[in-house]
């Protein structure tokens, strides 16, 4: 086994996990909302970017922002439709409603894009770098840097700006926030739009690694769930740490033991962490 290569693989894999999960971190942690259509939104964003490249003829660097914009707009629509259970902080209704959205998105996408695997290609995937025995692509570099930058920006906004304080106040007590002159419904829409746009960016950077299918999405939800819970619900730094930790674990476990059991082993780790630190790694 090439240990240095596995570490690079782990970092790249982990940055992808963290990037896909960043929206959920804010959604669940900062706004106490859930979205079980997260995986299908990831799939939809990948297909929108793919369709923009294949049907409209735009290049990858235009297609990904287009997918981010489209998912942001879809986020406004979805949030407007479920504002009532959101305002009532009814997590059960939100779970059911977002699961429903997920199935609708999956069915609609299958109808629109078909059931065959498609190649969503990034030119950066083909450009590779080699240092001694270690190999990686520019897509890996962009994913890693993009993830670090996005997490840093999110941490700064959440902890050092009035907007971050407003989001945290709505998360703690949306009713009380109204008495401070805060329109909680507007904050919920903003957070949901961020989640949708962030998962679209995640899809734009991570999905080109393998063929895309309209049936994909479930694995992404599970991974996101593990990262968010492992990191400590709502902890931006914790999610980043959990994403990298999980990526590293999967890369090393896959190389040393077997790739077939990585998901089961990752859940074992999750269980062990939750037994020792019930609020996750990043909880204070």
């Amino acid at each position: 086994m090439n240990l240095a290569q596995q570490i690079i693989n782990g970092l790249v894999l982990g940055s992808g996990y963290a990037l896909i999960a960043i929206g959920w971190t804010v959604l669940l942690g900062a706004a106490r909302m859930v979205n079980f259509a997260h995986g299908q939104l990831y799939m939809l964003a990948a297909f929108i970017a793919w369709a923009a490249m294949e049907k409209l003829g735009v290049n990858y660097f235009v297609a990904v922002p287009l997918a981010v914009l489209a998912l942001g707009l879809l986020g406004v629509l979805l949030q407007a439709m479920m504002l009532r259970p959101v305002m009532q902080q009814n997590l059960t209704s939100l779970m059911i409603v977002t699961l429903g959205f997920g199935y609708v998105i999956q069915g609609g996408s299958a109808r629109l894009f078909g059931g065959d695997p498609e190649a969503f290609k990034s030119p950066l995937e083909a450009a590779s770098l080699r240092f001694g025995g270690v190999w990686f692509t520019w897509q890996d570099v962009i994913t890693l840097l993009g993830t670090l930058l996005l997490f840093a920006a999110l941490w700064l906004v959440m902890n050092r700006t009035r907007l971050g304080a407003v989001v945290r106040s709505v998360a703690e007590d949306p009713k009380l926030a109204q008495l401070f002159g805060i329109d909680a419904s507007l904050i919920y829409i903003g957070v949901f739009v961020f989640e949708c746009a962030a998962v679209a960016l995640g899809a734009g950077l991570v999905a080109p690694r393998s063929p895309i299918l309209t049936s994909m999405g479930f694995d992404e939800v599970i991974l996101t769930f593990v990262v968010v819970v492992l990191g400590g619900i709502g902890s931006v730094g914790g999610s980043l740490l959990a994403g990298f930790g999980l990526g590293m674990f999967n890369a090393l476990f896959g190389a040393l033991v077997s790739p077939a059991y990585t998901t089961a082993a990752a859940f074992l780790i999750l269980l062990a962490v939750l037994v020792l630190r019930p609020r996750g790694l990043g909880a204070r």
Binding site: R162, A177, F180
Partner: protein, 243 residues
């Protein structure tokens, strides 16, 4: 007398339970008005209804006017922006946010005509303790300090009318008198204030006018001087027996 706040026919019910039944209440400009009553009389329901706010989901009817402008149908955050600012009973601040963050949440209104915008210096003059605690999270504060933050954030919103719901709850008597005396000083500078209090004796010493609520109905009202001699107040709240 010009009314900063004028509410008529305020009714509220939770399911089949009537919590308020056609209550009229007014706060004249620059005066301090008290609402007293036993537990369950509907005092908190009344101020919450005025602010358009509630933890539950009551059905509220009636008309609320702020400086003559109707507020009916407006959400609590819009009422707060117009200048009708409520400090609710109990939890009035965010425990995960620092004192500074709690106070910075409030955006000063765009139109401050006829309203006094309290600067942070004024806030810290009023409550010097908060300057020392500005980096402390809400959950680290004592009950009295939390109440100071809750009142301060309300003042930062430049209220036309401040609704204060049981500020004395859980506070030591000395702190209650201190806090209420500070509120009285603000009223003397022009603030209009509606105070809900259990402590009738302290309320009577500070307010200009008083309303007495019983089982969701308004049963007496008048100036503080008049109400001091009202047999219902004397008997039920001041411990004197009428003969």
């Amino acid at each position: 007398m010009t009314h900063a706040l004028d509410a008529t026919g305020i009714s509220a019910r939770y399911g089949g339970n009537v919590a308020l039944d056609g209550v009229d209440v007014a706060v004249p400009v620059g005066r301090m008005v008290g609402i007293v009553g036993a537990n369950g009389a509907g005092k908190s329901t009344l101020v919450n209804a005025l602010a358009g706010w509630s933890r539950g989901r009551p059905i509220v009817r009636g008309t609320v006017r702020l400086d003559g402008e109707p507020l009916d149908g407006l959400s609590p955050h819009r009422r707060a922006k117009r200048g009708l600012v409520l400090v609710p009973e109990g939890k009035g601040i965010f425990s995960d946010l620092t004192v500074s963050e709690n106070l910075a949440l409030v955006r000063p209104p765009a139109d401050i005509a006829g309203r006094h915008l309290f600067s942070m210096d004024e806030i810290f003059d009023l409550f010097p303790r908060l300057a020392e605690r500005s980096d402390h999270k809400g959950r680290m504060l004592s009950g009295g300090e939390r109440q100071m933050v809750a009142v301060s954030r309300a003042l930062r919103a430049a209220p036309r009318v401040l609704l204060l719901d049981e500020p004395s709850a859980g506070l030591a008597p000395r702190l209650v008198y201190e806090l209420l005396a500070k509120m009285r000083a603000l009223v003397d500078r022009g603030l209009s204030l509606l105070l809900v209090e259990q402590n009738v004796r302290a309320t009577l010493e500070l307010v200009d006018d008083l309303y007495l609520l019983e089982r969701g109905r308004l049963v007496a009202s008048g100036t503080a001087a008049e109400m001091k001699d009202d047999p219902r107040i004397l008997e039920a709240y001041l411990g004197a027996l009428t003969t």
